[in-house]
Assembly symmetry: C2
Homo-oligomer: 304 residues x 2
DNA sequence: CTTGCAATATAAGCTACTCTGAATTTATAA
DNA sequence: TTATAAATTCAGAGTAGCTTATATTGCAAG
């Protein structure tokens, strides 16, 4: 028999509290017979009487008191557990943990967050901004449900959902010779002073391939591992660079940088949603993915 | 389902410890299928995953860790309970609590205790000497399993097992005129100075009835509520008295009292074992009762 | 990528447990 | 004593959860 089945524990606790089998039976919605059998079975299993039925109302023996205490403690621990569980459920079923690279664009993320909060008010969105490799790590370690990265790379453990393609433009200082142009042809970049990304970054590989495909030799002056530094360098007239248009908005509004369209349709930055291959997504996470995918925001024809 | 069935708790704890359903199954002597079903049922009941089976070896989710902790705590509490229970069992199934009047005779009780210890070495005998009314009270309150009393009186709550009949003799000082006699007839007691028991004691009623039945008028000089005081008074020549022979042994050996048989077969002190009417006796208690009853020690023909 | 192995999941049938309901016994109060 | 409320006993029914057999999945090695 189950010495520790919930019904049993509660039943026995109630019996000792109410000093009556029949009342405990009623209180727990079972027949009196069932309670009798339960207690008898307990006594048989323990090899000692728990109740003294010789007198009425029945009394509890020393062993019975011991068991009643046990019941009380376990039931209390159970309640505690259920409360904790509810909290964890609330958290892990109600929140989406997103790890994102910095350059996804804070302002857009805020918009998405707002829309998500509107649609699923009970949900909680936790966005963490990390360097690309740490985004992958977070997803792999299940510290994030979703990752937002550029140039997403699937692997055995990682699945990619393509998200959007960002227009890449030439970033230049307003004082640069090309600054006034609305568009440039790739060939026009020959020999320009160029600020690039560190080699190992995917975006660097893509940009370099683009340059190579067009037989363009540029003059690499500096390279950094993040966009912010590159923007700074461009603004300080160290050269031009190629980057997603959207992340330059602020600097453009301030007149620190200008964006010049490049006549090269193959030049774009793909963004992707990554997640662990066999991950089961709960309601809320699914809703969030749906939100991301459903409105692939119209590519902003930046200059217009 | 039973969220707290022992097998289940242990099973889940083992699963989380071993990080394997199949090993936990083997360790608990059930099929791997059963474990899968158990865990699935738990997850269904909780409405949240406990294990992450996507990777091998499987990992435990936050909720799973919570439940595993719960399992650990409950199992620990269970062990604790079982230890306590064993102690209580040892005590309440292995000890006989006896409440006895003083005048049952300490020396004989020691003998009985020794014999009992020889027969049931695991047992523990707790003898408590009390005034008669407190013996009844102890039995009623289940503070004693058995009571040893004289002139036992059954009641609704109390059952009597007749135990033995003690010879009653005339107790006198060695200096008393009757001291040399081996036996006296009841009539010879007419007019003697007599030390009696307090009226309300059963023994007083019996002795007085005996005297009245034989039309004997004695000269009541003193009365006490206990034998010890009466013996003292007799030794100090305040008069004679009637009492069980056996309790005078020591004083007789010391030459402080003499016992004289009384030619009256109806004069005896009945001793009885009392217990609560519907009491269930365990092995050890039954053995003790058997010991008491089996050897109704030969009435010691005291003088011989 | 396929293949093989080990772990886990699913399906279906069966066993055994525990509940219910009715009849019986027990404890207490009038 | 009788009347009552309470506890026990017994037999039968429904089902939870096990087992076995089979399918699926995860992972590592060729």
């Amino acid at each position: 028999m189950d010495l520790m089945n919930y019904e049993n524990l509660k039943l026995f606790r109630d019996v000792t509290q109410m000093r009556s089998l029949s009342r405990a039976a009623a209180a727990n919605g079972v027949s009196q017979s069932a309670v009798t059998q339960q207690v008898q079975e307990l006594e048989r299993a323990f090899g000692i009487g728990l109740l003294d039925r010789a007198n009425r109302p029945l009394t509890v023996t020393a062993a019975g008191r011991l068991y009643a205490d046990f019941c009380r403690d376990v039931l209390r621990r159970r309640d505690e557990f259920l409360v904790e569980l509810e909290q964890v459920k609330q958290h892990s079923l109600g929140t989406v943990r997103v790890a994102s690279i910095y350059s996804v664009g804070l302002s857009e993320m805020v918009e998405i967050e707002q829309e998500f909060a509107r649609r699923v008010p009970s949900a909680c969105l936790e966005v963490e901004y990390l360097r690309p490799e740490r985004v992958y790590a977070a997803v792999l370690a299940d510290e994030a449900d979703l990752g937002l990265v550029s140039y997403p790379e699937p692997s055995r453990e990682i699945t990619v959902i393509p998200w959007r393609k960002e227009e890449m433009v030439l970033a230049a200082s307003p004082y640069h010779p090309l600054a006034g142009r609305a568009q440039v042809a790739p060939e026009e970049l020959k020999g320009v002073e160029f600020i690039g990304f560190d080699r190992e970054l995917p975006i660097a590989r893509e940009v370099n391939r683009f340059l190579k495909d067009h037989n363009i030799e540029v003059n690499h002056t500096l390279h950094f591992d993040n966009l912010q530094m590159i923007k700074e360098a461009v603004a300080h007239r160290a050269g031009v660079s190629i980057m997603p248009a959207r992340i330059m908005f602020e600097e453009m509004a301030q007149g620190r940088l200008v964006a010049i369209a490049i006549d090269a349709p193959e030049l774009y930055r793909p963004l992707g949603i990554i997640h662990r291959r066999k991950k089961r997504f709960h309601q809320v996470a699914q809703a969030f993915i749906a939100l991301l995918c459903e409105s692939p925001k119209p590519e902003l024809g930046l200059i217009s």
